[in-house]
Each structure stands twice: as structure tokens, then as C-alpha cells.
Amino acid sequence: MESEKRPLPVVTTVILGILIAIGLAVAIFRYIHGLGAATNLSDGRPWGLWISFDLYCGVALAAGGFVLTGTVYIFNMKRYYPIVRSAVLTAFLGYLMVIVALLVDLGQPWRIWHPVIYWNPHSPLFEVGWCVFLYTAVLALEFSPNVFERFNMKTPLSVIRAIQIPLVIAGIVLSTLHQSSLGSILLMFPESLHPLWFTPILPVQFFLSAVAVGLAVVIFEMSLSDKGLGHHVDQGILAGLGSAIPYVLGLYVVVKIGDLLVGGKLGLIFTSGIYSVLFLLEFVGGAIVPLILFALPSVRQSRTATFWSALLVILGLVLNRFDVSWFALAPRLGTTYFPHPMEFAISIAIVSSGILAYILATRYLPAIQSIKKQPEAG
């Protein structure tokens, strides 16, 4: 491999290593003493930070993978080919991080495979479980050429190339199901989720916002690795991705407003106290404003403006996922919850290991960043 060897960013690596070590220690404590000792969760609030952040945000933020593979391989927009590999890497790491988080959060993580043999097709969580499982496998296959190329393994490479299109389509189908099924989970809470957020079409809203944030995450990541890892991507490519965002967010906004209108709940936007504030922050700040920004050519031409607008979309989505899975979800009577420091330590460690894995992968699997302009035939 003749690629330029860049040194590992030492300070960053050491800091990440320390954070991961702290998380590991906490995880051991949690496995020995149980969830009650390591978290502030209780019967009144059985899901907390790990579900809201690591699962709900994690899955949505990994949406860049299916959005980009679809763009490049199905819609055949070859100009985005140079970034599809890092998008797949991010999604793959994202899903691995989700699984690690579940291994900490589940009461009996050694039974995480149980949904494979014990079925409850009525349960949205059953669908989520299968999608995590299958889509992670698809992502592993989509990512595998990077490894095969590195070690010059011709046969497996040609096998993957041969099934590339079915693989991409499977990835899109599974992602569509998975992104929306995280919304379906909440359909079990019609009485406890605040009416500003509860709607039977939550799965549709989840899917649309995931596509928008998928695009935003790719922009964000490309801008960052541009600075941090010297992986230069044309502004034209980022602008192109950005130009799709107004359409997706536009649809999201229309669906959401329309749904509130039909439900006769528009007034709630202004009369729900703290919930109004949360709603306006995520909806205006995280959807309507970036929609307008990305519609402006001057924003899309500026690298900085594109970056910050993408960040707005991401923050809006994160707040939305926190709202629906925590802030706007009523706990059992008399329960309060704020995450235990150990809960933060675990989430921070998981994110750190994701970043570290990204740095290592982009360094040791050079093909990820190869700005080749042509996809290989086939």
C-alpha cells in the first residue's frame, strides 16, 4: 500500500484511550452490581440516557450509510462515490456502538440473541432487534471490501462486487424499517408521550428525519475529517448533498404541521409550557431554519456555512430523539430521573471508541479515503 502514512494523533488517541478505560471499569462494576447500582434508572423511569442517546440518536446518526449507498449505487450519482466508503464506515461503526450500548443496558445481555428464536411479531422492539442484527451484517459486508483490498484478497472481493446491488437494496429496505420502527416503539405509549409528539404516523416522521440527518452527518463528518485527517472533499460534493436537505426537511415539516393540524393540536405548540420550548427548539431551530439555510446557494457554497447548517440539523434531531424517548415521555407518578455519572461515563466511552475506531480505520485501511473518481466496473 503506497498511501501516505500520517502519524496517529497522539494526544487525541491517549485521551480517547483513557475515556474508554473509564467506561470499561464502569461496565465491569455494572455487571457485578446490577443496573441499579450503576444508574439512576428505576421502575418509574426504566429507560434513560443510554436508550435516548446511544440507541435513538445513534441509529439515526448512522443513517448516512443507506442514504449514500442508495444515492451512489441505486440513483447512480457517481460524483458522490468518493465519500460513500467513509459513510459506510461511519454507519457500520454507529451500529456496532448501538450494539455495545445495548449490551450494557439490557438486564441480561447474554440473551441479546433471544429474539432470533423467541418471536413476538406484535412487538415493535422485535422488529428493531431484527433490523439491528441484519443491517449490521449488511454493513459489515458493504464495508468488507476495504479489508479485502488491504490484504489483496481477490476472491472474496469479487463475490462482494457481484452481490453489491442486492446488498445495497437490502440495506435500504432494512434501514427504512429500522429507522421507522424506532418510532413504532413509541406507539405503545399513547397515554404517556406528550400529544405534541405522539401521532400514529411517528414511524413516517422518524424515517424522514433520519434521511435528513443522514445527509447532514455525512456533510459534518466530511468537513471534520477534512480538518482533522487531511481528507479533502470538494465543496461541490458537500453542496450537492446539502441541496437535497431542503426537500427532505420540507417534507418532514409539512408532514409534521399537517399532522398537528389534522389532530387539532396546532395550539399546543404555544400552550404547553416547557414542552412548547422543546418543540420549538427542535422543530424551528433544527428543521425549519436549516431548511431555509440549505436552500440558499450562498450557504451551500461556503464551507463554514454548510458545516454549521449541517450541525443544526444534527442538533435538532438529537433533541427530537431525546424529547420523544425521555423529556416528553411521562414517568410513573412520583419519579424523577437524571443520569448517574456512570451512565455518562458509559456513553462517553462508547462514543470515544467509535471515534478511535474511525481514526484507526481511515489510517490503516487507506482505500476508505481514496478519492478515486470512478467506481470499478461491476
Partner: protein, 268 residues
């Protein structure tokens, strides 16, 4: 056949015999509590307490009266916990009892989130935790016995029987003494009906009973889950179709422009 319990709060004297009988029969440990200035003890349901009596002081004109209510699993006719459970560990038996299969449970706690009455409890202190909740004394039902709580109740406030029979009894009782009972059988219709039903002399919302409509709560999730197979079909066909059409178009475009000297908009 569908089992049920009719709990007549006007007959309950707050002796908590049911609470103790439940602990004895199910071999549940005691809980260490402290005086909260209330007879109510322990303060809430937990993995160690599957049923308990709540104490309410109700101001009635110049008098204050005590009303006691038994909290615990309602054994819903359409249980949210069972719909939610990822592995089907919680499920409804043909006789109506909602029970738990411990060897399937993965500890995701979705059942706790989904139950509209806040019933399933988790063993937070254990490294190998399970969900705990009232089983309607399924082992006693299997022997043709009534649940331990109903058996113990000295005043007959807890009546065990066929749900339909109990409903008739309840209606008859309300009709006979309209002055005594509010005109509401809690659990007859709530969330699609529950096997455990209540009669009371004061409105149920004053006793902390949540107000629910007659629709089963899992209905939206069921609609979404039924949409999964068609979604798979539609997205697959759509993506396959788009791929085929775009590939064809690109091929035709490159053929058309083959002989032409004009620069083509070749982006890739």
C-alpha cells in the same frame, strides 16, 4: 373461560391481608422501609411487592373517610406488556392470566414502559435480573384454587370468578345501591377491559386511578407492525425499479452521445 377479580373498595378495611398473603404464597422478601407519615407501606409496587393497599383520605362534606384500594396487575384483556415484550416472555394465558416466562426475558424493560398501570417491576439490584409482577397466582389457578389475595380477604372485598359473572354482580350491586356506589366499574372498559375490576364509593380519579378510554393501547403499534411486510415489498420493488431505469437511461445517454463531439456532463 376468562378469570377475573371484582374488588369492592367499599368492603375493604385496609387490613393488608392480601398484601401479606401474596408475599407468603409467592415467597417474596420483605422490604426495608421508613415511616413516611402514612399507614401505606411499602410505598409502591416493586420486584418484592406485587400487590399493596393504597390509603386515601377523602373529604366528604364535614367528614373525612378512609378509602383503601388494592394496586397490582389488572391482567388486561389486551395487555400492553405482552404486546410490547420483544421475546414474548410476558403473555396472556387462555384463561386470561397475564404471566411471565423468565427464561425468555432479556431485560429490556419495554414492558415497564408500556404498561398503562405501572406494574412490571425489575430487579435493579441483581446482576442477573428478571421482571416481577402478579401472576394471578397461576400455579393456584392450575390447581383450581383462587388467588392467595382473594382467598385471604376477610371481608370478601376481593371476589374471584368468571369475568362475565363478576360484571353482572357488579352491575346488580350498583343498581341496588346507587347511593353507595359511583356509576362506574373501573376495568369494565378501560384500555379495552381488564380482568381485575373495581367498585367504589368515590370517583376513581380521586384514588389515583388513571383515566383511560375504551381503546386497547397497543392498537397503533399493531397497525404499524402490520405495515412491515408491505413496506418490505414496496421499498424493494421501488429501489430495484429505480436502479434498472436509471441504469438504462445512463446507457442510452452514453450511446446517444457517443458520436457527438459535445462535452457530456460526465460527473463521475
Amino acid at each position: 373461560m376468562s378469570v377475573g377479580m371484582l374488588i369492592d373498595l367499599t368492603k375493604c378495611i385496609g387490613c393488608r391481608g392480601c398484601q401479606i398473603a401474596c408475599k407468603q404464597w409467592n415467597e417474596l422478601p420483605a422490604e426495608k422501609t421508613h415511616n413516611r407519615g402514612s399507614y401505606e407501606n411499602p410505598p409502591k409496587l416493586s420486584d418484592k411487592t406485587w400487590t399493596y393497599i393504597t390509603f386515601h383520605e377523602i373529604a366528604d362534606g364535614s367528614r373525612v373517610t378512609w378509602v383503601f384500594a388494592k394496586d397490582g396487575c389488572r391482567h388486561c384483556l389486551e395487555p400492553s406488556c405482552a404486546s410490547a415484550c420483544i421475546v414474548g416472555a410476558l403473555h396472556k394465558r387462555p384463561d386470561g392470566a397475564v404471566v411471565y416466562n423468565a427464561h425468555k426475558c432479556i431485560g429490556c424493560r419495554y414492558c415497564e414502559m408500556a404498561c398503562p398501570f405501572g406494574i412490571p417491576a425489575f430487579q435493579w439490584e441483581k446482576p442477573v435480573p428478571y421482571i416481577q409482577k402478579c401472576t394471578f397466582c397461576e400455579d393456584r389457578l392450575d390447581q383450581g384454587e383462587e388467588p392467595a389475595c382473594a382467598k385471604t380477604c376477610p371481608t370478601g372485598a376481593i371476589e374471584f370468578g368468571e369475568r362475565n359473572d363478576l360484571l353482572q354482580t357488579a352491575h346488580a350491586r350498583m343498581k341496588e345501591r346507587p347511593d353507595k356506589y359511583v356509576n362506574h366499574i373501573y376495568g369494565e372498559k378501560e384500555v379495552g377491559g381488564t380482568s381485575v375490576m373495581y367498585l367504589s364509593s368515590v370517583p376513581f380519579n380521586k384514588l389515583g386511578f388513571p383515566t383511560y378510554g375504551p381503546e386497547p393501547l397497543p392498537r397503533y403499534a399493531h397497525i404499524a407492525m402490520n405495515a412491515v411486510p408491505p413496506t418490505i415489498g414496496v421499498v424493494t420493488v421501488l429501489m430495484g425499479g429505480v436502479y434498472w431505469i436509471i441504469k438504462r437511461r445512463d446507457k442510452m445517454m452514453s450511446q446517444e452521445t457517443d458520436g457527438v463531439t459535445e462535452p457530456t456532463e460526465k460527473e463521475g
